[in-house]
């Protein structure tokens, strides 16, 4: 209509004019969430630069500094802003490093689930027939075994399977695998659904008539058009994956305490909850909840923003 005539010219104006960007800028919650997520991710990624101590380096830890309260409480020491844990590790540093691990594990797990799920989903939806039936049946089975159980199982098997010396190093990968593997059916189902819709659209048929091979059609045409819902699931999935990692670690089935993730920190700290050393569990718990909340908020907004019907 007539409004279309004054088309924006500069690139920035174009970006700003984009509906999603506009909706983002005008949604304080989303901006807030993105800010926290970004802050958390940056803080954790750059933990080695920011953190006052390296909690993974046993040589930096002094047991005599253990169980110190936060700096503002009597008995606290200024170099340990949030106090120390039972091993004498600086809480702030541990949380930063732990958050880094949690985010890394969560992101890697979601990526794994996403790559696996999207690939299988697109193939399933596009190829159809027996391939589709097999993939979807496997997904059904996967859904029949609740994720957290499967993660515990995979972890257990991983522990039993791996040789002693590898177990420590592989604990993280086992957790990633465990969570990632439980995630894929979701991605597969959504992608398959979107693929079924897209594959019937005429641009795909046009591509077929041009004579493009199936893999190219899936890759170039269908895949990019199914990514919107995938993005939403991936974001919410990231939050869930972080929780899943924390839960596994809390149950003692996850990341070992020598390189603690937030979940492991909470598990360890939980032992001190009643003894008055509340900071050992409270701070990591707050960090975890804020992180997950921010990611969720972002995902929530994204779901609404990407769903034109609800706008």
């Amino acid at each position: 209509m007539s409004l279309q005539e004054n088309r924006p010219t500069t690139r920035w104006q174009r970006v700003r004019d984009n509906d999603i960007v506009w909706s983002f800028i005008h949604s304080p919650g989303a901006v807030f969430a993105a800010a926290i997520t970004l802050f958390a991710i940056l803080a954790c990624v750059f933990a080695p630069l920011i953190a006052p101590f390296d909690p993974f380096d046993p040589a930096q830890i002094s047991l005599w500094d253990g169980k110190l309260p936060p700096a503002w409480i009597e008995g606290g020491q200024p170099q340990y802003l949030l106090g120390t844990d039972n091993q004498g590790r600086d809480m702030l540093s541990t949380i930063l490093y732990g958050g880094r691990l949690s985010i890394m594990v969560g992101a890697a797990a979601v990526c794994l689930g996403m790559v696996l799920g999207v690939t299988l989903g697109v193939i399933s939806g596009y190829v159809g027939g027996v391939t589709d039936a097999i993939i979807m049946r496997i997904a059904d089975v996967q859904l029949t075994i609740p994720g957290i159980l499967l993660a515990i199982l995979i972890n257990g098997i991983g522990r039993a399977f791996l040789p002693l010396e590898l177990r420590q190093e592989f604990a993280v990968y086992v957790v990633i695998l465990a969570i990632g593997l439980t995630d894929w059916p979701q991605f597969a189902r959504v992608t398959r659904g979107a693929t079924l819709v897209e594959a019937n659209k005429e641009y795909v048929q046009a591509a077929r008539i041009i004579g493009l091979p199936g893999w190219l059609i899936m890759l170039r045409h269908i895949l990019p058009n199914t990514l919107r819902p995938v993005l939403v699931i991936a974001t919410i999935g990231l939050a869930l994956a972080i929780i899943a990692e924390a839960t596994l670690s809390f149950l003692g089935q996850g990341i070992p305490p020598t390189t603690p993730s937030l979940g492991t920190l909470i598990r360890v700290g939980n032992d001190y909850l009643f003894s008055g050393l509340w900071w050992i569990t409270l701070f990591p718990a707050i960090a975890l909840v804020v992180l997950v909340f921010a990611v969720n908020l972002l995902g929530d907004w994204m779901r609404d923003a990407l769903n034109p019907k609800l706008r």
Partner: protein, 519 residues
């Protein structure tokens, strides 16, 4: 209304049912439940403790751990065995009489292949019935400490066992559980009322018990509920759901002590915590070092000096431990103040020793550690990792449940591990034969000292107490110099108790309900 009425009725039923009709109900909790009610199937602390309230042995220990008569009234040693006079008029819970025949049967059962007590019962070659109330336990040669070995071999009724097809202890080969797993028929002060494993076990006072009136305890009913999670366990005590926690985490003791209506009692436990170093193989499995650094006594000394036991005591154990230089605690025959003294802490010297031994940059090794067995086990290991890092020993820690940890030691698949050792017999022989004798089944260090092996064999049969004690002391001094282990500390037991209950604490960490008094 209909529904409301029903609710009201059931509510009243509840109110009537729920307050204890039995007057003194002792509700308590600890981490792990007994595995089975079969007294000969599993030799495991919590299982023995639970079964010891239903079943009884010939002799027992009181809270001070001195030997006391139980089903035997008296005993005396002979050259080829010990004679026991049995208590008369004792009845099993089902009413059957306890006689010498049951003793014979019980020892046979304990020595059965499927029994977990066959090692302990091994020293009893056979049981000879003198009369209905006298038995002679025949041994291979003299055994000076036989009564010490009998305190957890419980007596079971032959007739009941036969009637219920449980002549043999439960065995994995049996395709189903046996009757004795969930049913019990002992002579003890409490009768098994109901049992839901890992959930709730209820015991009722046995009014016909032989010791009725002889002991101060006045409990009518015991409700035992295992709670795995330590924090939850403490929460249960703090919220008044239980009267007694056997194993509150050390860090919560202050909180318990500080709460109204709760108190803590402590006692030095008959258990020492230490690290083992495999010095018997040529190349460590988990190390980047060439060869085996632990073979070098200097390295072993460095390991000993690098660990700050005082810091562990203060920070990790909240003061509740006794740093030590040997792996058996006071109270056990063989513990001497001299040997008990810690090796001390000197990181600089430790580093120097490592350099001398040819490891100026240290080496790496994996530490295997249980995470659900000893007081703060995993946390001690973590602390040790940090301390060893300061002298250049790079330790990777693998903390796993005891069920997976112990097989590693028994199969000797570990280079460096944590272990704790309690001594139920209160005699060093128990330590030597398992941990220090070169063929000891729990000696995963590969430690071999011919003299120590010799002494271990000798004290099995030496009846001259003084001579025997001297040999034990000599062996301990050798061990102190050889340093096959890194002794950390002796554990201290702490029990959390609700006010109004008098629960005499015992160093073997077993509750003795016959002494528990509700005020």
């Amino acid at each position: 209304m209909h529904y409301g009425k029903m609710l009201a009725v059931s509510a009243t039923a509840l109110i009537l049912a729920s307050p204890a009709l039995a007057e003194n109900v002792f509700r308590w909790t600890s981490q792990g439940d007994a595995l089975t009610m079969d007294p000969h199937s599993q030799n495991e602390g919590p299982t023995n403790a639970m079964n010891g309230q239903i079943y009884e042995a010939l002799v027992t220990r009181d809270a001070a751990l001195t030997l006391q008569p139980e089903l035997a009234e008296s005993w005396e040693a002979g050259a080829d065995g010990w004679t026991f006079k049995l208590r008369q008029g004792v009845k099993f819970h089902d009413g059957a009489d306890f006689t010498a025949e049951d003793v014979v049967f019980s020892f046979e059962r304990a020595k059965h292949e499927a029994s977990d007590f066959k090692e302990q019962a091994k020293s009893v070659a056979s049981v000879e019935v003198i009369d209905d109330y006298t038995v002679k336990l025949l041994t291979d040669g003299a055994n000076p400490i036989l009564p010490n070995q009998l305190t957890s071999i419980y007596m079971i009724d032959k007739g009941w066992a036969e009637a219920n097809n449980v002549v043999a202890p439960q065995d994995f080969k049996a395709k189903e559980e046996t009757y004795a797993v969930r049913n019990a028929n002992g002579t003890g002060p409490f009768v098994l009322e109901s049992r839901a494993p890992d959930e709730m076990t209820v015991l009722m006072r046995n009014g016909d018990w032989w010791g009725e009136g002889m002991f101060p305890g006045n409990i009518d009913k015991i409700e035992y509920r295992p709670i795995t999670n330590a924090a939850t366990r403490v929460a249960a005590l703090l919220s008044g759901e239980v009267d007694f926690v056997l194993d509150p985490p050390l860090q919560d003791l202050k909180r318990i002590e500080g709460s109204d209506g709760l108190h803590v009692t402590t006692v030095a436990q008959i258990r020492s915590i230490f690290f083992g170093m495999d010095q018997g193989i040529d190349k460590l499995r988990t190390s980047d070092a060439e060869g085996n650094p632990f073979k070098d006594p200097k390295v072993r000394e460095a390991m000993n000096l690098a660990i700050d036991k005082a810091a562990i005591q203060r920070v990790v154990m909240e003061g509740l431990s006794f740093p030590t230089g040997m792996i058996t605690p006071p109270g056990v025959l063989g513990n001497t103040p001299g040997n008990d003294e810690s090796y001390g802490f000197d990181a600089a010297k430790a580093k120097a020793l490592l350099a001398e031994a040819g490891y100026p940059d240290g080496f790496s090794v994996q530490l295997d550690c249980p995470n659900n067995r000893y007081n703060n086990d995993e946390k001690i290991c973590q602390a040790a990792v940090a301390m060893l890092a300061k002298i250049g020993v790079r330790v990777s820690l693998d903390a796993i449940p005891k069920a997976q940890h112990f097989p590693k030691i028994q199969k000797r698949e570990t280079d460096f591990y944590m272990l704790g050792w309690g001594v139920p017999t209160l005699d060093s022989h128990y330590v030597f034969s398992y941990l220090l004798e070169s063929s000891g089944s729990w000696n995963a260090t590969g430690y071999k000292n011919d003299r120590v092996d010799e002494i271990t064999a000798a004290i099995t049969t030496e009846i001259d107490i003084d001579k025997r004690t001297m040999m034990i002391d000599e062996a301990w001094s050798l061990v102190k110099a050889d340093m096959p282990y890194v002794p950390i500390h002796h554990q201290v037991l702490a029990w959390g108790i609700a006010d109004g209950w008098d629960v005499p604490i015992a160093a073997d960490d077993a509750v003795r309900p016959r002494f528990v008094v509700k005020q």
